[in-house]
Structure formats: structure tokens, C-alpha cells
């Protein structure tokens, strides 16, 4: 069994053990933790895809989700359709927006040092958030939907059930991505490009086209997620920044290119945040959790590489 599999199993086992303990002590922590984990996993998976294959840390990731959420908002308010239906046109538009962003900017820095790529994607993030700020103002926007407030009661515990759509969405994204990478010719070629771009060119793969398709595909997934995001949360131009940081932390925890482990890392983060929030006056401390986790991950990786 290789190390990647061992870490995946260890991560998922740790999350499951934590889940069982929480289920026994405070079931609501488990429910809200899983719901949070679903949101984190769904937004982190496309970043993991781009980082694993195109080898780009996209600092505009959260801002692209914000743009998708605004797109979905305007599609819903203009045509009077549900955001879950608007996910389809939003995903398609985001595919082409991703394509344009990639071809006009990121593609030119693929051979450049990583710092140049970080500065570029940071610039793209600024352009996107400021453009939305100019067009839509900084006023928060939200779509009110009745079905979002649906709840269930089990024993003494009452909780919202709509938020379980996010873990389902994350599982769906993961299943689609794994099927794409393992079973389709383009997906297998993309995996090859991710592992060895030079080797991929030598076997006849159009590496530049693969990068473009993968980045656009990730943008499409972000687009679909953006539509789901607007069903539950208010949106404003700065809403995406947090998700860039959290997604990056999760991908770093999971290991580059390890998509299933993103789910495990999201569960750990979601459950840990939920646990801290359940403590009186703990809500303010929950954003510290992912900083703590990323420090632990970086320290342990540094320790392992020294060994």
C-alpha cells in the first residue's frame, strides 16, 4: 500500500472516529460539522484539481466563486428561475470565463516562477472583486427561498436539513471528477499531464489544451457551487477571499492531487470548527481553527522531509 493511500485512510479514519465521538457527546456538532465540511469540500475540490494538474495556486479561486454567485443571482432575478436551475447556465458561463482568464493571463505564466503565478492570480482576484464592486456595489444580496429553512427533529435534536445538500454536492463533484480522471481518455491524459508534463508531451498529449480544459472545467464546478452558495448565504464582493484561504489550506492538508483526501480534510476542519463554535463564546475562535490546522500540517510535513 503506498503512502498516499495510507494517509487517505488515516485521514478518513480520524474524521470518522471524531464523528462517532461527537455523535455520542453532542449530535448537533456532528450535523453542523458535516454540513460545513460539505461546503468546504465542494469549493476546495476544483482548486485541488487545478493545483494537481495545472500546478497553479489560483488565488482568484474564491473570487471566481463570488462572481459565479453574482451571475447566478442576476440570472435568477432576471429570469425568475430557481438558483438550483441557474446552476446550469452559471456553470456554462463560468466555463468560458475560466477559459478566457486562463488563455489571457495564467497560460502566460506556466513556465514562470511560482511567485509570478501567485502575484498574477492575486491580481486576477483583485480585478474580479473590484469589478463586481463597481457593477453591483458592495451591498450584500440574498435570494430568499422557502425550502432552505426546512428542518428535521430526531429525538431532542432539531436541525436544518437543506444544508446537507452541500455534502451531497461535494460527493457528486468528487464522483464526477474521479470518473473523469480514471475512465475517460481526456481525464487519463490530464492525470498524465499532472504527474509529468514533459512525459505527457512525449506521448502525444496536447498539454496546453489539457491545461486549458482542466482550468475551464474547474471554473465550471466553481460556477455550479456558486449557484448553490447563493441559496443559503448573502453575497458581497469580498465574500470569496475566505474560501480561497480555506480551500488552499484543505488542499495542502490533503496533499497535492489527492482528491478523496480533500473530503477527509474538509471533515476534520468542519467538525473542528463546529466543535469550537459549540463552546460558549467559541464562535469568534472558529476561524482560528484552519490557521491552526495548516500550521500543524506544514510543521509535520517539514518534520517528515527532514527525516
Amino acid at each position: 500500500m503506498n503512502k498516499k493511500k495510507i494517509y487517505t485512510i488515516a485521514g478518513i479514519s480520524a474524521a470518522l472516529i471524531l464523528s462517532v465521538i461527537l455523535l455520542i457527546i453532542r449530535p448537533t456538532i456532528l450535523v453542523y460539522g458535516i454540513q460545513r465540511a460539505g461546503i468546504y469540500a465542494a469549493i476546495a475540490l476544483p482548486m485541488a484539481l487545478v493545483l494537481g494538474i495545472v500546478h497553479i495556486v489560483n488565488l482568484a479561486h474564491g473570487e471566481m466563486m463570488m462572481v459565479a454567485a453574482y451571475l447566478s443571482y442576476f440570472i435568477c432575478t432576471t429570469f425568475g428561475i430557481d438558483p438550483l436551475v441557474a446552476a446550469i447556465p452559471t456553470g456554462i458561463i463560468m466555463f468560458f470565463l475560466g477559459l478566457i482568464i486562463f488563455k489571457t493571463s495564467i497560460a502566460h505564466t506556466l513556465e514562470a516562477p511560482e511567485l509570478n503565478q501567485l502575484i498574477l492570480t492575486f491580481g486576477v482576484a483583485m480585478v474580479l472583486s473590484q469589478s463586481v464592486n463597481l457593477i453591483a456595489t458592495s451591498q450584500p444580496r440574498k435570494i430568499s427561498l422557502d425550502y432552505v429553512s426546512a428542518s428535521a427533529t430526531i429525538g431532542d435534536v432539531s436541525f436544518g436539513i437543506y444544508d446537507f445538500i452541500f455534502p451531497v454536492l461535494a460527493a457528486l463533484f468528487l464522483a464526477v471528477l474521479i470518473y473523469f480522471l480514471k475512465k475517460t481518455r481526456l481525464g487519463k491524459a490530464a492525470s498524465a499531464v499532472g504527474q509529468n508534463p514533459r512525459g505527457a508531451r512525449i506521448v502525444g498529449i496536447n498539454v496546453d489544451l489539457t491545461y486549458t480544459i482542466i482550468f475551464s472545467l474547474a471554473s465550471m464546478i466553481i460556477g455550479v457551487f456558486g449557484s448553490f452558495f447563493i441559496t443559503k448565504f448573502s453575497i458581497f464582493p469580498a465574500v470569496g477571499g475566505t474560501f480561497t484561504m480555506k480551500s488552499f489550506a484543505l488542499v495542502a492538508m490533503a496533499g497535492i492531487g489527492n482528491l478523496p483526501m480533500v473530503i477527509g480534510a474538509s471533515l476534520v476542519l468542519g467538525l473542528a470548527e463546529s466543535l469550537v463554535m459549540s463552546v460558549p463564546h467559541g464562535a469568534g475562535w472558529s476561524p482560528m481553527i484552519f490557521f491552526g490546522l495548516i500550521i500543524i500540517v506544514i510543521l509535520s510535513r517539514s518534520f517528515r522531509s527532514k527525516q
Binding site: 498516499k4 498524465a192 509529468n196 508531451r201 512525449i202 506521448v203 502525444g204 498529449i205
Partner: protein, 233 residues
């Protein structure tokens, strides 16, 4: 088959290949020379991985200068690089399949080609489920050759295939290449001139980015200069 006309390449200001003209005929050709002679640079130039300063390269009448690497591979040029360039986290089977699926002319015959490759390298079939990155150097070299053959190339280029391998494996590998040249044209670059001359029809000796001696395998074997400089006699 493959014509290199007055090509020059350099890394920065350092010229590596100087105004070189080379005609690779069907059959098998060797390109020999010491480290730094420019052998790998020529292969990279054929693949389009190193830009040409001057000159042109054409393959079976098609000029390659403006084509991207994958388009050159699609025309029928497959390369086994010195560093093997495998996909380490993919299994042997997946590496072979990727080698065949991305060349349009080979795509329809992947299953048949896979059988043929496994006949040449039986060890690969035994290791189908093993990750490529966990194989030994010799097995990886065989996988790299097998992956290149999956593209059903018209010209197979091997860059120093004996590098880092024990002599018995090198001997076996060249015996396999000798058998293969009936079906596919081969160009091999080597420092191991003695072993390589057994497998090729013609050879070129390079030094400092230029070809200094050309001849058939027999002529080169009997050339006192070659014997002294490259065979240690």
C-alpha cells in the same frame, strides 16, 4: 525519413549544436559521442522541446519547425528519453495505455499493440498493476520503450538507453532493438559505442555539436580512430 538541415541550437549564449546536417534513413541509425556532444539536444530539437536557431527539420516530407511536440509525435516520431519520463503514480498498464491512446493513428489498435508490446517485454505484463515509480531502473527502461511503441511509431528514438543499466540488461535491450528494427526505424544515441554498433546499420560520431565521422556499423567498427576513442582499444 528524417532530415536535419543546417540546424543550430544553443542554451542561452552557449552553442550546443552547430550547423549540423543529418539524414536518418529507414532502418537503424546510431548517434554516438561523449557527454556534451549535443546528442540529447538534437533529440529535443526533433521533438520541438529546444528551439532551432537556424535550419530546418522535416519528417517524411513534412517540415516540423512550426509543429508542436504532440503534433510531431502524431506524425510517427516516438522518443524514449534518457530520464524515461514515465508517469510514476500510474500503473504499468495505465502508462502503456496512455502511450497508445493519445496518438490518433494508434488509438484504434491499442489492444493489439499492447499484446505485441507484452510479447517483446513479458515482464511488463507480469507487472501490469505495479506503479511505474516503484519499478527498478531496467524495468522502467523497458516500460519507457514499451510505452513509446504503443504509439506505433514510424521512427523510434532512444536517448542513451543503456545509461545506468547493468551490462546484461543492456545486452538484452540491444538484442530486442535489433529484432525490432524490422518493423520500425530506430535512431539511438549512445556513449556505449561497442554494444550499440551491434544493433545499428549506420552510425554518426559527434563531438562538440558537429558530426565528425559517418559510416556503416562495419566501417565504424573497423575505424581505428573510433576504436581508440570510443571502444577503449
Amino acid at each position: 525519413m528524417l532530415e536535419l538541415k543546417n540546424i543550430s541550437c544553443s542554451y542561452g549564449r552557449m552553442p550546443v549544436v552547430r550547423n549540423l546536417t543529418l539524414d536518418i534513413e529507414e532502418g537503424s541509425t546510431g548517434l554516438f559521442g561523449p557527454n556534451g556532444a549535443g546528442k540529447t539536444t538534437i533529440i529535443n530539437a526533433i521533438l520541438g522541446l529546444v528551439p532551432l536557431k537556424t535550419g530546418s527539420i522535416s519528417f517524411r516530407g513534412t517540415e516540423l519547425n512550426k509543429l508542436k511536440t504532440h503534433e510531431r509525435v502524431h506524425l510517427g516520431i516516438s522518443v524514449v528519453p534518457q530520464e524515461r519520463e514515465l508517469f510514476p503514480f500510474m500503473t504499468v498498464y495505465e502508462n502503456l495505455i496512455v502511450g497508445g491512446q493519445n496518438v490518433p493513428s494508434a488509438r484504434d489498435r491499442v489492444a493489439r499493440t499492447l499484446e505485441e508490446v507484452c510479447e517483446i517485454f513479458p515482464i511488463l505484463k507480469e507487472r501490469f498493476e505495479q506503479k511505474a515509480g516503484t519499478m527498478s531502473g531496467g524495468q522502467q527502461r523497458q516500460l519507457a520503450v514499451g510505452r513509446a511503441l504503443m504509439a506505433r511509431p514510424k521512427l523510434l528514438i532512444l536517448d542513451e538507453p543503456s545509461l545506468g543499466l547493468q551490462p546484461s540488461i543492456v545486452h538484452d535491450l540491444f538484442s530486442i532493438l535489433k529484432d525490432m528494427k524490422k518493423d520500425v526505424s530506430i535512431m539511438v544515441t549512445e556513449q556505449n559505442v561497442r554494444e550499440s554498433l551491434r544493433a545499428v546499420d549506420t552510425g554518426h560520431i559527434m563531438e562538440n555539436g558537429e558530426i565528425i565521422i559517418t559510416g556503416t556499423a562495419d566501417e565504424l567498427s573497423n575505424n581505428p580512430e573510433v576504436e581508440k576513442a570510443y571502444m577503449g582499444l
